[in-house]
């Protein structure tokens, strides 16, 4: 484990790519099934973007389902009414998600802490109920948006199975590369300073409001792309996509994996989907209870999530190799 993490810090992108690209070929040996791998990547992409907000700035959004859901609906409508070609659909979906992010971010980012979280939650619920009532002629209401007989294509190539997987993989690898660039950029440094001491930052000549909004919009763009991919993967928009429970799951994934580590939330997403879809079978009805216990145990004993667990294992069993560090 130590070996892989230290090599990982040297060559993060190649190793990450290797894991992601080889994933569908070994996933079935640990109980996975085709299709779940793609879903994991899509959720990992959303969790990765979420970490740019929560992990860097410390702002806990309970409304990221907004961007996932709105973009999913936009993609669905484009595929259904415009063209099964995914590029225009994704393009419009991301534009809609970004505009949404500016509007929601502008209004909610004026508050911090619990007030911010509650405001984002309220926005999400408002949109969710609008989709189920006022806008049901467009969204399909409680039935979700069905897109019968549409097979999404990229330049005429059918997007399903492995081709869909590799589309998601390419986007996730690019997303991870960009997230790492942001993390080490001056912009990322200032986002992290927001979490550390916002007041000092204001008295240091930084327009904190703009940086916060920037971080919020970037993370929302990740969620929008994920929402769009979800509908391309499975041409149907489920009502849960816009539901607050989607935001909630995202928070749980991030906390389980390790907030602020970029890789952690992605591992959290993979774990959660794996648990929900694979381990839940032998566990039967009680799987949610077991997941709850695992989650609580992590929060209580490993507040840094899986990533802290890995760091502890490394420290305990491989201490000799990095003695010179301290």
């Amino acid at each position: 484990m130590n070996k892989s993490t230290s090599i990982f810090s040297k060559y993060p992108i190649p190793i990450f790519s290797l894991v992601v690209l080889s994933f569908p070929f070994w996933f079935e040996y640990i109980g996975g099934y085709p299709g779940l791998d793609t879903k994991i990547l899509i959720w990992a992409l959303m969790a990765l973007g979420f970490d740019i907000l929560l992990g860097f700035t410390g702002y806990l959004s309970f409304g990221h389902a907004i961007f996932f859901g709105v973009s999913a609906y936009a993609t669905g409508l484009m595929l259904k009414h415009f063209s099964p070609e995914i590029i225009p659909a994704m393009f419009i979906a991301v534009i809609v998600g970004t505009i949404m992010a500016f509007a929601v971010g502008y209004l909610t980012m004026k508050r911090s802490g619990i007030y911010f979280s509650i405001l984002t939650l309220a926005f999400g619920e408002m949109l969710n109920s609008a989709a189920l009532s006022t806008l049901q002629d467009i969204t399909g209401g409680d039935n979700g948006l069905t897109i019968p007989d549409v097979k999404p294509v990229l330049f005429g190539i059918r997007m399903d199975g492995l081709s869909m997987y590799f589309l998601a993989a390419a986007i996730l690898i690019l997303g991870y590369y960009l997230a790492r660039r942001i993390a080490t950029s001056p912009f990322g440094l200032i986002l992290k300073a927001i979490k550390s001491n916002q007041e000092r930052l204001e008295y240091t000549g930084i327009d904190v409001q703009k940086y916060k909004l920037g971080g919020f919009v970037i993370s929302a763009i990740y969620a929008s792309i994920a929402g769009s991919l979800m509908v391309i993967y499975e041409p149907y928009v489920a009502t849960e996509y816009l539901h607050w429970s989607t935001s909630g799951e995202l928070v749980i994934m991030s906390v389980m994996g390790g907030v602020g580590t970029l890789v952690g939330p992605m591992i959290g997403a993979a774990f959660m989907l794996y648990f929900e879809n694979v381990l839940s079978v032998p566990l039967g009805e009680e799987w949610l209870l077991v997941l709850g216990i695992i989650f609580m145990a992590i929060v209580i004993f490993l507040p840094g999530g899986f990533m802290e667990g890995l760091a502890r294992i490394k420290k305990r069993y491989f201490n000799k190799s990095n003695k010179e560090e301290k």
Partner: protein, 259 residues
């Protein structure tokens, strides 16, 4: 009513008939304070005299009931903290305000970036490492004597060193005016001595300073001008020797406690 910009060109900061009421309490009444460029100007006075209120009016944290503040020829009214800072004013807080989870180098890189790139820049794909800003931050840390520990996390510093770090954060902007709210509060004797030395060095570089301080040793060691506040008004002003011998000042202080 506002003073003409030209008439105050030699003043870095001009508080003009500033009054502030908190409900029925008059915290400041008609305070005129002029801080000349390149000077160290101390504000002293008994507890509750209005020193902190005046400092907060200057930094825009408190909006005065009457009067105005002109900084470097520009009137400050309804200006947010980061804008005031971008105009060239930095503040050292009473309790050290730093970025505790970050390295000292990162702590100082942030104001250096703010000075170079302005209040906002969408430079999210720029390389942070190897940026010339890092060597600039390193030099600034060297000025306050913290260069050797620049890679450690700020939260592990002693209180005195946290104060030095905060000073480095503030001077990394190369501000025109540095406000210090009790820079030696809670410091041990030797730390106070070295802080005085450090502040003297900074002031020699030409930076204008306004210091609010209780420790008279610090005040007399550093100040060019001292303004004495009592019950919301300035009762005396002058160089350290004038102020020391001023009967009004002695009375204001004796009324409370003997120094």
């Amino acid at each position: 009513m506002m003073p003409n910009n030209k008439s105050i060109s030699e003043a870095m900061l001009d508080c003009y008939q500033v009054s502030k009421n908190f409900g029925g309490l008059q915290a400041l009444s008609d305070v005129n304070l002029r801080v000349k460029e390149g000077t160290v100007h101390s504000l002293i006075g008994p507890n509750g005299a209005g020193k902190s209120t005046l400092l907060n009016v200057i930094t825009g944290m408190i909006v005065p009931t009457h009067g105005s503040v002109v900084f470097d020829g520009k009137p400050l009214g309804n200006v947010s903290p980061h804008e005031i800072n971008q105009l060239g004013m930095a503040k050292v807080f009473q309790t050290p305000a730093i970025f505790p989870e970050m390295s000292l180098l990162q702590n100082v890189c942030i104001p250096a970036l703010a000075a170079r790139d302005g209040a906002f820049k969408l430079n999210m794909f720029d390389r942070g490492e190897g940026d010339p800003i890092e060597s600039f931050a390193e030099e600034t840390l060297a000025e306050v004597g913290l260069q050797e520990v620049m890679h450690s996390e700020a939260r592990f510093l002693s209180r005195g060193d946290k104060r030095r770090l905060e000073l480095a954060i503030c001077i990394a902007h190369r501000p025109k005016l540095l406000l210090l709210d009790e820079p030696t509060a809670g410091m041990a004797r030797h730390e106070t001595e070295s802080t005085i030395e450090l502040l003297r060095k900074i002031s020699k570089s030409g930076m204008t300073m306004v210091i609010v301080e209780h420790d008279m040793n610090v005040v007399f060691a550093l100040s060019d001008i001292i303004s004495v506040l009592a019950q919301g008004s300035i009762i005396a002003e002058g160089n350290p020797d004038d102020v020391k011998g001023n009967p009004k000042v002695i009375e204001a202080y004796l009324g409370e406690e003997q120094e």
